[in-house]
């Protein structure tokens, strides 16, 4: 009820004054407000300061454009639109003296002014983006056509035209008196637009006269011929780029696809391969009718990250995921494409074998990688040995399998990767055809042509896709740019960032303008604020990893006279500085999280906020948002309250320091006593949580010691978790749970919460299979049962329990953010923490979710108004989706960065170490290396050698060599050798071999 009331009040606030109060009461009867009003969506804009309006002009010449169109009801109406022609449109050339000089964009000493046609913009946008191409006139007719055909290219050309560093000019030819052309009888719209482009080019020629050379760039033969006949300079893209004499630039030119004969010749030299590999895509009309009558199903294709030959299409019409197996069934679709799928007959749903054969040329071997932290990181075991017949028959056959018949919307992008090593072509300097391998394994190899193979072979490059012909096994693309040398730390880090769509651009001036005046200090206004409590006298301190500069949280623990404790969790008051709707807020919302790489941090908020103004550093006054409990010595919460506050931390300790203080029995100073009290409370809370069934999962987090000068890793080891870490974690969990309860009570429909779905039986299967093979029975009926059986999983082997927990961890999915209105209460559950409700409140400096939650809490306490975005369900869901996407990407980037540094570390330091077998495969097994937190394959037979002298025992997860009396079983300890090898030049990889 209360919530309802608040919503109403918010609704009425931003309304502008009603129109009648603004009237000048000059007449005896002021005009009344309109008797009825069409309710329209409110639109709130801010107007740039540029204020005064020019005197009103009347537009001059008039043309009427008329056309017929069909209305939604299916009726055909004639639409007449006005079309004004004018003579005050500038040409943009610096050499022109007759036009408005303010509009000048094209260079004074331009060798040629280029007028490009629509297809040049659509297909050669990578070339246009290269700084070698300048002085380009983009006609409005071209711009309109591009916009209709490809919005992403439209946005790119728009960026080019607004970039003041580039010399691109938009000429409104459609409204210029001299360049407007009317469609002639029998002329197609395409021909009319081509003619308009030629007319505009001719106008430039005569308008600029001798002062500049105007050139029409078109790949359309007919258009080029007509242009030449009309006395224009016309060139194809390729011939123009050739004339610039920069061989590298030619790689950016997209060669016209299939129809062109020369391309067919180079397609594949072996005639045997010249066959139709894929089936034609169905025409759009057929797809539409097929979708309507339910033969086809529409959905977004998601390719398995670890097995690019398997993909899924989430289909609403079927209500289930359709599995697509193999490249030929995927029929040239890319990850993220919207596709139309046809189901295969049910008797083919279970044929998992067939697809492996036709893709054998792609080796799908596993690399050494970090130990997965969740099921989302782990390779799915679809391609593992013999996926046990009885289980797959039961679970897999029920899932529909299909093939792709058409692509409704392409998600083609540019990708990071490198060229497949190949010998230099004979006549060096000529054109080479190379295969590009994307870092993202979901992307197929891409064929490109290059004239600079020698330069590119050992580089990380970006390649864009142009087309994929039915005759061609791989899509064709073109080179876009070089990032740097393969294996180079900076290059590979940049690749990681690009791959994970992480914004590393410096913050814009608009964003920085939102920062408070620096240096910031506490103002009297903050203290006078009745909603802000002064807690500067309280002994507040923080405990963080060493060297932490963005301190989100601090604590206090004061004994009360009645024997209880007052425990406070103080979180940086970020929302005091990041106001809703500001550019700073928009940017933070987009970035959603700070990204932590080895030795590098990409901030969500500008540095002055993260490291200074918001950071709860020691000995300075800072604003905080506090959760304060009264707790009994048994850690029962008697009361909770929430308030904005001012604190002054007395110590910013590292975990090691805090631990050392607690452990040193000689110390009895108040701070140490506070720490000990907190620690004993935390232990009780932790036990209670585990009793409820919270899982103690194990992950092996790796820590590097980095050389401060070279930034190379000096040492590598597992991050040690101390009691002090767990103590802080416990109070943060408690604060998050408290806040989740509070905001949900006030805003049941628009709270941002975090849930952790219970793992399905299917997901836990690998864990159960491993456990049963070593005679361990795990009860997975609930998180409580699982937690108990994990606790009981003990053997003589001291590492056994940890190993089982690590295996359990990788079966879980990740927790996700969601909007409370989108799900029902039972779905809010956080499985891992065994908590009915959970959210993120404690790290607003580095997570946007916490910023959102701070705003919700402030509104729930009546301190601030709830921003309007919370009224907008779909937008809120969009925010949650973006948080999940960015969060996931940030994690993947962190993992990739650790993997990169692991590789760099072992490059000069081969070692022998102990490892544990975690999975048996047909030709070997996967081992986990506890000391370095990595896992990888060990091959018992050479690659390609299918001689089966090893026998796999699936039930006991064991591989044996009959005659030789050697066997390896899962969880067994083995000694291995780790070394970086280069099987192909400049392609270093970490190799594990059995000793």
């Amino acid at each position: 009820m209360k919530n309802q009331f608040r919503t109403d009040r918010l609704e009425s606030k931003p309304k502008p004054r009603s129109s009648s109060t603004l009237l000048n009461p000059c007449s005896s009867s002021p005009p009344p407000p309109p008797p009825f009003c069409r309710r329209r969506r409110s639109a709130l804009f801010t107007l740039p300061a540029a204020a005064r309006l020019r005197a009103v002009d009347l537009a001059n010449m008039l043309q009427s454009k008329s056309f017929v169109k069909k209305t939604k009801q299916g009726r055909v109406v004639k639409v007449v639109r006005e079309h004004y022609l004018r003579d005050d449109i500038p040409c943009g050339a610096a050499s022109c003296s007759s036009c408005d000089t303010a509009a000048r964009r094209l260079g004074v000493d331009a060798a040629a002014i280029l007028v490009v046609d629509t297809n040049v913009v659509l297909h050669q946008i990578d070339l246009l983006e290269n700084p070698a191409i300048e002085d380009v006139v983009v006609l409005s007719v071209v711009l309109d056509e591009v916009k209709n055909k490809n919005l992403s290219v439209y946005n790119r050309i728009k960026t080019l035209c607004t970039n003041t560093a580039r010399r691109f000019f938009v000429f409104t030819n459609e409204h210029h008196r001299d360049t407007y052309v009317k469609e002639m009888v029998g002329e197609s719209p395409n021909d009319r637009n081509d003619r308009a482009i030629r007319v505009a080019a001719r106008w430039y020629q005569s308008h600029l006269g001798e002062s500049a050379k105007v050139m029409l760039i078109t790949n359309d033969r007919d258009n080029k011929r007509k242009a030449t006949e009309e006395g224009l300079n016309a060139e194809t893209v390729e011939s123009y780029v050739r004339s610039l004499a920069q061989p590298g630039l030619l790689d950016l030119v997209v060669v016209p696809s299939s129809g062109d004969v020369t391309m067919e010749d180079v397609e594949d030299l072996r005639p045997s391969k010249r066959k139709v590999i894929y089936s034609e895509h169905k025409p759009m009309s057929e797809i539409t009718s097929g979708l309507r009558c339910g033969i086809f199903h529409q959905g977004k294709l998601r390719v398995n990250r670890y097995n690019p030959f398997e993909a899924y299409v989430g289909s609403e019409s079927i209500g289930d995921e359709i599995i697509i197996r193999g490249r030929s069934n995927m029929n040239r679709a890319f990850d993220g494409d919207i596709v139309a799928v046809e189901l295969l007959p049910q008797d083919q749903w279970n044929e998992s074998k067939s697809f492996i054969a036709d893709d054998d040329e792609d080796d799908n071997e596993e690399d050494v990688h970090l130990v997965p932290n969740s099921a989302d990181d782990a390779p799915r075991n679809t391609n593992s040995t013999q996926s046990t017949v009885e289980s797959s028959a039961a679970s897999v056959s029920s899932r529909p399998v299909g093939r792709i018949v058409g692509i409704i919307k392409r998600n083609w992008n540019s990708y990071c990767g490198s060229l497949e090593p190949m010998p230099m072509p004979a006549g060096s300097g000529g054109v080479a055809h190379a295969l590009f391998v994307s870092k993202d394994r979901r992307i197929p190899k891409i064929r490109i042509q290059t004239r600079q193979l020698g330069n590119l072979l050992n580089k990380r490059i970006v390649v864009a896709v142009d087309s994929w012909d039915v005759l061609s096994r791989y899509p064709s693309g073109h080179y876009v740019r070089t990032i740097g040398d393969i294996g180079d730390k900076e290059t590979e880090t940049e690749v990681v960032l690009i791959e994970n769509d992480i914004n590393t651009r410096p913050f814009s001036t608009q964003v920085l303008a939102c920062l408070p005046p620096l240096p910031w200090s506490l103002s009297p206004d903050d203290l006078a604020n009745p909603n802000r409590q002064d807690l500067r006298h309280v002994r507040v301190f923080s405990v963080d990893p060493p060297g932490c500069r963005d301190i989100d949280d601090a604590l206090h623990c004061t004994p009360l006279p009645n024997g209880n404790f007052e425990v406070g969790v103080h979180i940086a008051d970020v929302t005091n500085f990041v106001l809703p709707g500001t550019p700073l807020d928009e940017e933070a919302s987009q970035r959603a999280t700070s990204v932590y790489l080895v030795g590098q941090r990409i901030d969500m908020l500008p540095k002055p906020l993260t490291e200074d103004v918001c950071s709860l550093r020691a000995d300075v006054e800072r604003l905080a948002f506090s959760v304060i409990w009264e707790m009994t010595p048994d850690a029962d919460i008697i009361s909770s309250r929430y308030t904005k506050s001012v604190i002054k931390s007395c110590a910013a300790m590292s975990y090691v320091e805090a631990q050392a203080r607690m452990d040193d029995s000689r110390l009895v100073d108040p701070l140490t006593v506070d720490l000990r009290n907190l620690n004993s409370l935390a232990k009780i809370m932790r036990n209670r949580r585990c009793e409820r069934g919270a899982l103690t999962l194990a992950s092996a987090e790796v820590k590097f010691e980095i050389d401060s000068e070279t930034h190379d890793p000096l040492d590598i080891g597992i991050y040690q978790i101390r009691e002090a870490n767990q103590m802080i974690e416990e109070f943060m969990l408690a604060a998050n749970v408290s806040v989740a309860e509070k905001i949900l009570k006030h805003y049941p429909l628009c709270s941002l919460l975090r849930r952790h779905p219970s793992p399905t039986k299917e997901m836990l299967e690998p864990l159960l299979r491993t456990a049963s093979s070593v005679g361990l029975n795990l009860d997975v009926s609930s998180s409580k049962a699982l937690a108990d059986s994990l606790d009981n999983a003990k053997r003589d082997d001291p590492y056994f329990n940890k190993l089982i927990r690590i295996l359990a961890t990788r079966c879980m999915t990740q927790a996700v953010y969601f909007c409370s209105g989108d799900l029902s209460l039972s779905e809010y559950y956080h499985y891992g923490l065994a908590s009915a409700l959970y959210t993120h409140f404690t790290s607003p400096i580095r997570r946007y979710a916490d910023v959102v939650v701070h705003r919700l809490l402030a509104a729930a306490l009546d301190i601030a108004k709830l921003p309007p975005v919370f009224q907008d369900g779909p937008q809120l869901t969009g925010i949650a989706d973006n948080l999940n996407y960015r969060h996931r990407n940030a994690q993947m980037a962190s993992r990739a960065s650790v993997e990169l540094h692991t590789l760099i570390y072992f490059r000069t330091r081969p070692v022998d170490t102990e490892a544990r077998i975690v999975k048996i495969k047909a030709n070997g097994f996967i081992v986990f290396v506890p000391k370095f937190g990595i896992e990888g394959p060990i091959y018992l037979t050479a690659k390609g050698d299918k001689g089966a002298d090893w026998v796999v025992d699936e039930v006991h997860q064991k591989v044996t060599k009959p005659g030789a009396n050697i066997s390896y079983a899962v969880l067994q300890s083995v000694m291995i050798h780790m070394e970086v090898v280069e099987p192909q030049p400049h392609r270093p990889k970490l190799q594990l071999t059995l000793l």
């Binding site: 502008p16 000048n24 000059c26 309109p34 639109a43 309006l53 537009a59 639109r81």
Partner: protein, 242 residues
């Protein structure tokens, strides 16, 4: 949708944000009426006819016999829009616009000079392309002037909207259908007073003022144009009378 091209600053029809469509006005188009006028703003075309002052036909309608009764009937021709839908006479929208036009014109007519009489204004939209309300008021002003009805000042009207973060003068149908705010203003041009102000949707206060000022600029430009027409018309009459 980009109603103002972000790269060139031109609107869909080739105007700049602060430009009005082409205006055209003509008086004396209905010979039977006491005064009449045709007014065009771009493709929006409106005809107005004025009868009166004449004796009040239905005395019960007259509230104050010391002042003239002003009546207004607004109609939209069935052929005026793209889809020639049959609209019932006296629908809510027509009733509202009739009322708006009547009240706006009443504010200008010196009704106390014409007691016991009534003035009928008939306005018909021949072609609708946005801004019909304003065009009707402008046509009515011309027709009243043609009929020789005494007025304080000429009333003119113009609309302005706010789309793509830019105030736009004189919205056409496409821009009007965008669903953005639409401010229609009517002013007494010489006296610089506002007699009509309507807005759909919400706007922040400072933006609203900019948009309203733009609409007022538009009204003033129309007033100048209407004065020219009347002057020209008077010259013609003078010439004909010799």
């Amino acid at each position: 949708m980009e109603y103002v091209n972000p790269l060139t600053g031109f609107r869909v029809d080739g105007r700049r944000p602060n430009e009005m469509r082409q205006l055209k006005g003509e008086v004396g188009v209905v010979s039977r009426a006491d005064g009449s006028a045709l007014f065009e703003m771009g493709n929006t075309r409106v005809i107005a006819a004025v009868y009166g002052p004449r004796e009040v036909q239905n005395r019960s309608q007259q509230v104050n016999s010391k002042e003239a009764l002003v009546r207004c009937e607004y109609r939209m021709a069935e052929f005026s829009t793209g889809d020639r839908r049959r609209k019932p006479k006296g629908d809510r929208r027509s009733t509202e616009i009739s009322l708006v036009i009547r009240q706006t014109m009443e504010a200008s007519i010196l009704t106390h000079l014409m007691p016991h009489s009534q003035i009928d204004i008939f306005v018909q939209v021949l072609q609708a392309d946005g801004g019909t309300r304003s065009a009707c008021i402008n046509a009515a002003t011309l027709a009243l002037a043609d009929a020789g009805i005494p007025m304080r000042d000429i009333v003119t009207s113009c609309s302005a909207g706010y789309l793509c973060s830019s105030p736009l003068l004189d919205l056409n149908y496409i821009e009007d259908s965008a669903g953005g705010p639409d401010v229609t203003v009517g002013i007494l041009a010489k006296m610089d007073k506002v007699t009509l102000l309507q807005m759909d949707a919400k706007l922040p206060m400072d933006t609203f003022e900019t948009v309203m000022e733009l609409a007022i600029e538009g009204c003033k430009a129309i007033a100048t144009y209407i004065r020219e027409i009347l002057l020209e018309n008077t010259k013609q009459l003078e010439y004909r009378r010799g």
